[in-house]
């Protein structure tokens, strides 16, 4: 019994922390998602997209993936990729970026709950995704 009670308490603490993170996060995202600032931010990031061998068409699936995650944003990602008929090279580059760097806010926060350093986790993933995708964009061109 003296092992079971701390185990149950510990698990409930973890569950509580997860609730405290996810509920506000999803609520804030839902409120902010429709703001035009987001659309304008898309334009500002155009040069970076070109550097990674991608165009405007890939922006919506890319941003959906970065913030929501692949599994969660799957519907939007698949639909846009089909509708815009993104070429194979773009699909691969976008996939490579998303494979390394998606659901960054949520993923980072759940490890911060356990005491991890969020800035290292977030920074390395973003730099790595941008770097690798730009590199592959150059390699695949030839």
């Amino acid at each position: 019994m003296d092992v079971l009670i701390p185990a149950i308490l510990g698990s409930l603490m973890l569950a509580g922390k997860l609730l405290l993170i996810i509920v506000p996060l999803v609520t804030i995202f839902e409120v902010l998602r429709h703001l035009t600032v987001f659309q304008r931010a898309g334009r500002a990031i155009d040069p970076l997209m070109r550097g990674m061998g991608l165009t405007r068409d890939a922006a919506v699936p890319l941003f959906t993936g970065i913030f929501l995650g692949i599994a969660y944003g799957a519907g939007i990602i698949i639909r846009v990729a089909r509708e815009k008929r993104l070429p194979g090279r773009h699909l691969f580059l976008m996939g490579l970026f998303l494979a390394t760097c998606h659901a960054v806010v949520e993923d980072t926060l759940i490890f911060v709950v356990l005491g991890g350093n969020g800035w290292i986790m977030l920074g390395v993933r973003i730099l790595l995704a941008v770097g690798l995708t730009s590199l592959m964009a150059r390699v695949l061109r030839n």
């Binding site: 092992v3 079971l4 701390p6 185990a7 149950i8 510990g10 698990s11 973890l14 569950a15 997860l18 609730l19 996810i22 509920v23 506000p24 996060l25 999803v26 609520t27 804030i28 995202f29 839902e30 409120v31 998602r33 429709h34 659309q39 919506v60 699936p61 692949i70 599994a71 799957a74 990602i77 698949i78 990729a81 089909r82 993104l86 194979g88 699909l91 691969f92 976008m94 996939g95 490579l96 998303l98 494979a99 390394t100 760097c101 960054v104 993923d107 980072t108 759940i110 490890f111 709950v113 356990l114 005491g115 991890g116 350093n117 290292i120 986790m121 390395v124 993933r125 790595l128 690798l132």
Partner: protein, 149 residues
């Protein structure tokens, strides 16, 4: 974006309830996994199996038991992984290391399928994720060791 824009109270409500729904769904399996691992820790099972993985995990500066969290992260998701990690008493550095590596490679079966269904090569991308996660983990541990010399 042809989607109609709902007003703020509606968005608050939608967000709150879908967040609550996601969180509760996760808690339903985080709680039993955490309890199971915490109880198994008092037996020799975790130690024995952990020792098996210890040499591989040492490359990344992690204890052998962390391998279970990686298996859970690869096959299931990060919530299962942190439910396993939480009772293991890892240092903040080790949590960062796990977070970075698992952040890159997790939920491989489902996400590989999604990436594949966009028309990209899902299998190849999944392999990339594993290689990248391993490479980054190894480099970060190397840097960490140099730093603490």
């Amino acid at each position: 974006m042809s989607e109609p824009v709902p007003d703020i109270p509606t968005r608050l409500r939608t967000g709150f309830f879908s967040g609550l729904q996601t969180a509760l769904k996760l808690c339903k399996f985080v709680v039993p996994i955490y309890i199971a691992v915490d109880l198994l820790k008092t037996t020799a099972v975790v130690d024995r199996l952990g020792a098996l993985f210890a040499p591989a995990m040492r490359l990344f500066g992690l204890p052998g038991e962390a391998a279970f969290a990686f298996i859970a992260a690869f096959l299931l998701n990060l919530y299962a992984a942190i439910a396993i990690m939480a009772p293991l008493d890892l240092t903040p550095w080790q949590v960062t290391q796990c977070g970075l590596m698992m952040g890159i490679a997790h939920n491989l079966l489902i996400e590989g399928g999604v990436l594949g269904s966009t028309g990209a090569r899902g299998g190849l991308l999944t392999l990339c994720r594993l290689v990248i996660a391993g490479g980054v983990g190894f480099l970060l541990e190397l840097l960490h060791r140099l730093w603490s010399l």
